[in-house]
Symmetry: C2
Subunit: 229 residues, 2 copies
């Protein structure tokens, strides 16, 4: 489980003064196998929260425990190893490497796991096929549409078969039909045990999750279970 207790995140100016209090005291427990939608207004702290949950950054205050262990007790290297083994992250702005094809891009997390090149390419190609990009594998990000870049970022997040998927608005650039097929893929992986934590602005997607956490101004405003589907 991931557990946040009174977690705050402050962005500072270069002179050390406070620029923005992005999270102001978040209490949240997410257990293995959950399917949580994180919603709320633009600027309310969703991406910041997801970044902390993904161990890509540390809280300014409060406690963040993963598997019972406070991340403050973990070095940057330990956190990085944990992240590589456990987490798949889909960024709101994709963060694909411009100079590489999406086949290479999707293979990068496997490279860090010391998977040999032939297996990397095979698994990356399979994942790209799953998201409907089988005929675009040699394109670089700038040679793709916005929704194709988004799907490549999703493929990269899933290629290591992560225990936890953190996805920041993964269908924002997708038409309804393509978005539904991506959500169906997430459902299948969730049924196989993957934890899904997804930021979304789409109420219909919020309804598909098992639980909705709604932020406002850096605080949790709502945290409730959805009625069973």
């Amino acid at each position: 489980a991931c557990e946040l207790r009174a977690v705050s995140k402050v962005y500072y100016k270069p002179d050390g003064s406070v620029m923005v209090e992005a999270l102001k005291g978040v209490d949240l427990v997410i257990r293995r196998g959950e399917y949580v939608a994180i919603m709320g207004p633009s600027g309310s702290g969703k991406s910041t929260l997801l970044t902390l949950l993904g161990c890509l950054d540390r809280p300014t205050g409060g406690q963040f425990l993963v598997g019972g262990r406070d991340v403050r007790a973990m070095s940057d290297e330990e956190l990085s190893v944990f992240r590589g083994r456990t987490i798949g992250f889909v960024f709101q702005s994709f963060n694909l490497i411009a100079q590489h094809s999406i086949l290479e891009n999707v293979g990068v997390p496997l490279f860090y796991q010391n998977v040999p090149p032939a297996d990397r390419h095979r698994r990356a190609a399979e994942m790209l096929d799953l998201v409907g990009l089988g005929d675009r594998v040699h394109h670089r990000p700038m040679e793709l549409s916005g929704g194709q870049q988004q799907r490549a970022a999703i493929a990269r997040a899933l290629v290591t078969n992560p225990l936890i998927l953190l996805a920041d608005e993964p269908t924002g650039n997708l038409d309804s039909a393509t978005g539904q097929s991506i959500l169906a893929l997430f459902d299948r992986l969730h049924e196989q045990g993957m934890t899904v934590i997804m930021v979304t602005h789409d109420p219909a997607i919020g309804d598909r999750a098992r639980r909705v956490v709604r932020l406002r101004d850096g605080l949790v405003e709502v945290d409730r279970m959805n009625p069973p589907r």
Copy 2:
């Protein structure tokens, strides 16, 4: 009016062979003051079409007439002058300049119109206020949420009071309430005479437009007027 006749757009590989036929023969007439939603599957050619309509690129084949004049008869410079005077463009990936605050970013189109600095800053600040970013004007793009970056891109597109707004999925990163306020702003400007051409994946936004053009595989599949609101 903008008129496309049998317009094609091909992306080539470095060796000159065809990589992708993004548009395969588009016929389309859009008149002054229209409000058109462009919809269709991911990869169907919407951003490519918008880029041509915005005079940011030229067709590979066919004719594209603006105000009755074929763009092939216009030099790159003439096209650029026409674009600066007439068009406001919201990019799917925003294209904000990382090193500048959003106040400076939004002022850039006015700089190219030789507007003096004090007026540039005043008008940029007003536009940022209109999109709800009045308290973020000195932030640089990386110090903003995804939806805030999107709104800054929208402000930049509107700061010159363009005759034609071309917007590529302008509410994709916005929660419902913020998205609605942006669409209400577009409505007001449309009532004052601005032509609106918007790519969207959201059927609800398609319903708000006066007309929907739906692409599939680089061709126009549907082109119909919406019932009056």
